[in-house]
Amino acid sequence: MALMHDHLMQGGQMLLLLLLAPLLTGWVRTLKAQLLRRRGPSLLQPYRDLLKLLRKEVVLADSASWLFRVAPYLIFAAIWVAAALVPTFASSLPFSWSADLIAIVALLGTARFFLALAGLDVGTSFGGIGASREMMIASLAEPAMLMLVFTLSLLAGTTELSAVARFMLTADVGLRVSLALALLALIMVAIAENARIPVDNPATHLELTMVHEAMVLEYSGRHLALIELAASLKLLLYLSLLGCIFVPWGMTTAGEEATAYLLGVAAYLAKLGLGGLLLALFETSIAKMRVFRVDQFLSAALMLGLLGALLLFVSRSL
């Protein structure tokens, strides 16, 4: 019975994420449009886009190989699995022991690896430009993220996200500069990883400014749908991550009743809505930076993360 319950929980979370992801993207887009005094598309537009793309046939470049066709499924699977392992509405996720935060970061790395390869596959210059810049960004964002893992693990004694979330719910945490630093670093990494302004522009098709869009330029039809869905999932993943580490309140703990779960879901939705609002506000109020400013932005994130870990050593050993 408990096993059934566990599996249902995990399956429920995976399905919830899949359904919510396009909504979050739509929410951010609508908000951004309204901040610019445009009416903007409907909240449901991303769903319609996805359905439309799924029904279209795939137009494949002549020089595309089997990797190009397999990559979207791999990318989607890797990001979906990673997202499924981040606690969202309940802090005790039955399968969270199968991969800790390091593994989740690495799973996102797997998705990025194949996306960059897909960008190179057709042999066009835009694909190459996107792939090479994406790997440059990742080469700084990933260590910054791992520094965050270090800080969390020093505090909570584990890198497993459910346990971290449970620890963050207790009063042992205290106010920590390191946590503030880690939060800052995580936000910076999340912006870079999700190709948001000021690092990249998710809405642009101006060739020289794009990174993520340049890599997926040759994709069409169902492949594009999967990649777009994966991108939405990734945004959702990072917001959930921010939520479960830094605003864990409202999460259901193990062994509570059904109403508690409803409350957890409501809290989760509220967090997402707020996160989306903040993201939209931030994106409208800032300009995109040059590609070769991004490395400074991200090395600042890396250093903040490192500093967070260092400071934690100090206050722990007093």
């Binding site: 799924l54 137009v59 494949l60 991969a99 593994a103 797997t110 190459g128 791992l146 590609v291 260092l310």
Partner: protein, 671 residues
């Protein structure tokens, strides 16, 4: 009994080599040599595995060879059994690959005799149990591999590589010789059993550690002693490159572990760990940065070996730091991580070098700027290479991730260390490790993407065809092992535990086999866990589910058309992103600091017909600040002494006389 069988099999390899000298010119002999090597390696591999898994007691043997008062001591314990497994696995797969690849060899007479001898040398190093036998086997391994590096000695670059290799190998052996001298002490107890029990003062032990670091580090490729490695490894034929990079560097790691953990033994000063840890971190990042700047595929891989050696030494440094503070449970984790990475690196580095060999055989090119699009004519090679590239980039669920994850978990235990310097060093090294893992992914996107994806950049790449069956079997054996070690890391960790507890005063990681779903649980249950099997299952399930649902209910139509490329498809394959342009952002971010990389664009004025030029200038910091002054000094000194060649006989005699008198004076005064 198994030890004598192991020894006689190693000797049999030597005989095969000798036989190959006489027979090299006849056709079909290369297959014979490689075939016999394959069989012997497989038997050795099996015996090593049995010894490791059955946790048998160490076996020793003394033969009346070598120094008359010492004899040749041999010993087989868990540590040597593990490394025997690594060596012979690599040897077996490389021999299998060479069954096909060896037929492309233009000068088999220069490869066949030395190949089995090289294998035998490595096996003997692992079995040696006294200093003389160890050094003899070590030199034998160095020289036979040197001969293999020089197989294509008509290319001037190879001659230079061989020269540098010889110099560095001699330097390394000298350092080891001195280290053993210190270890043996004034009584000269050169067999390892005596050394193990001998007491050493802390100062002498530290000196021995530094000498051993120099001796084994120069063979393994620890920065700054790595300079020969990226030149020499690619110069050899590809299957030998695979052995040198994937296996011989591990023999060097074995030397380090054997001497520092086993022979030097307790007590370990805490700063030893810090030293090794720092060196490992720097090696890892510098190695991968060097690799990113290369466009010769084999040289890229060789530089990448430097990175992985850095990761292994990070693990070993952590283990030393923990042992220095009597934290044996944590030391067990760090040691397991290091040994696991030894195994993993031998798997994927051999795979990648062999894959490069297949590319080289099919196109005759190893410059990535002249390859491209090979995934179309060589789909299977491409798949195997892709698995290797993903594994070395530490992507789950493959094996590279499992060992780097363990290393990271070991770093996360360092806050318990009492020394402040180590506490600060460990997160910094953690950042370096993470940086090198991320850069490795960039490096292998480049290596695989430029070589196998896109469109062919030269006619040779366009006319390539798939490699032969033997080679493919070898490639896929390794690829399968990469996957298996990645999804069943618990089994590997359990297999490693006899070696770990041997080096770690009996402490080892908890038994992993009993964990549900074979989850990897390094410390205790509340701490972190990882399960590659489940991750793979989840990924496969969700990917397949998505594919089936979409193809069933949405669409499965495909139409081929020219590439879109924002409406500007460039017809010329030369307009694709190249290896150099792919690395440009990273070169600007990291290279401008580390290598002082400077880009220069020369644009002719409008109306001028000359081509625009783009130049990148880079300086190798290690060479410029480390080696160049030394070489300059050596040359300056030898120039000063040059005139000694032209003295008269009377002056020579007076020199000898003066030297004698000085010596006697010195003796008289010293008394």
């Amino acid at each position: 009994m198994p030890l004598s069988l192991l020894l006689s099999l190693s000797m049999a390899l030597l005989v095969v080599g000798l036989h190959a000298i006489s027979a090299a010119r006849r056709t079909g002999r290369s297959q014979q040599t490689y075939g016999i090597s394959l069989v012997i390696c497989v038997i050795l591999l099996g015996m090593a595995l049995v010894h490791l898994l059955s946790a048998a007691a160490p076996a020793t043997l003394i033969l009346p060879l070598g120094l008359p008062w010492l004899g040749a001591h041999f010993r087989l314990d868990a540590l040597s059994a593990f490394f025997l497994m690594v060596v012979n696995l690599g040897g077996a797969v490389a021999s299998l690959f060479a069954l096909g690849y060896g037929q492309h060899e233009p000068a088999p007479g220069r490869v066949l005799p030395f190949y089995p001898a090289f294998l035998a040398g490595m096996n003997l190093v692992l079995l040696a149990d006294d200093a003389f036998t160890f050094l003899f086997a070590w030199e034998f391994m160095s020289l036979s591999s040197w001969a293999l590096v020089m197989a294509h000695h008509r290319e001037s670059a190879n001659t230079r590589a061989g020269y540098l290799y010889l110099v560095m190998a001699c330097f390394g052996t000298l350092a080891l010789l001195l280290a053993f001298g210190l270890l043996a002490g004034p009584q000269g107890g050169y067999d390892f059993a005596t050394i193990r029990t001998a007491e050493m003062t802390p100062g002498l032990a530290a000196l021995a550690l530094i000498l051993v670091l120099m001796g084994t580090g120069s063979k393994a490729g620890l920065v700054p002693l790595h300079v020969w490695l990226p030149l020499a490894h690619p110069a050899a034929p590809s299957h030998v490159s695979a052995l040198m990079s994937g296996v011989m560097t591990k023999v060097a790691v074995y030397g380090f572990i054997r001497i520092v953990f086993d022979l030097l033994g307790e007590p370990v000063a805490w700063w030893w760990g810090g030293l090794v840890l720092g060196l490992g971190g720097i090696t890892a990042v510098l190695g991968v940065l060097y690799a990113l700047m290369q466009h010769d595929l084999k040289r890229l891989l060789a530089y990448h070996t430097v990175e992985n050696i850095g990761i292994i030494f990070i693990g070993l440094g952590l283990a030393l730091a923990f042992q220095g503070n009597q934290m044996y449970a944590s030391a067990a984790l760090a040691l397991t991580a290091a040994l696991f990475h030894v195994l993993n690196h031998s798997l994927f580095k051999s795979l990648l070098f062999l894959g490069t060999g297949a590319v080289l055989a099919a196109t005759g090119e190893r410059d990535m700027e002249r390859l491209g699009g090979l995934i179309h004519p060589m789909p299977w090679t491409a798949l195997a290479f892709l698995i290797g590239a993903a594994a070395i980039s530490a992507l789950p669920p493959l094996n590279g991730f499992a060992s780097e994850w363990l290393t990271f978990q070991a770093i996360l235990l360092t806050p318990e260390l009492p020394q402040w310097l180590l506490k600060f060093l460990a997160p910094a090294v953690g950042a370096l490790l993470a940086l090198s893992a991320a850069l490795a992914a960039a490096c292998f996107v480049k290596a695989f993407g430029i070589t196998f994806l896109g469109r062919p950049r030269s006619p040779a790449a366009a006319q390539a065809c798939e490699t032969d069956r033997y080679s493919l079997t070898a490639l896929f054996t390794l690829a399968t092992l990469c996957l298996l070690a990645g999804i069943l890391p618990g089994l590997v960790v359990d297999g490693l535990s006899p070696a770990v507890s041997l080096l770690n005063g009996g402490a080892r990681l908890p038994v992993q086999q009993s964990q549900p779903w074979l989850t990897l649980v390094p410390v205790v249950d509340v701490k972190s866990t990882y399960n590659g099997l489940l991750v793979l299952l989840f990924m496969a399930l969700s990917g397949i589910l998505a594919a089936v649902l979409i193809h069933r209910f949405a669409s499965h139509g495909v139409r081929r058309s020219p590439a879109w490329d924002c409406g500007f498809p460039d017809v010329n394959p030369a307009a694709q992103y190249t290896a150099g342009s792919f690395a440009q952002p990273i070169r600007r971010v990291f290279g401008s600091v580390v290598f002082q990389a400077r880009e220069q664009v020369t644009m002719p004025p409008p109306g001028d017909g000359r081509a625009a030029r783009f130049e990148v200038k880079m300086r190798d910091p290690v060479w410029d600040y480390g080696y160049a002054p030394i070489t300059a000094a050596v040359i300056a000194i030898s120039n000063r002494f040059n005139h000694l060649q032209y003295l008269t006989i009377r002056r020579y005699l007076s020199l000898v006389f003066g030297a004698l008198v000085l010596l006697l004076l010195g003796m008289a005064l010293w008394r």
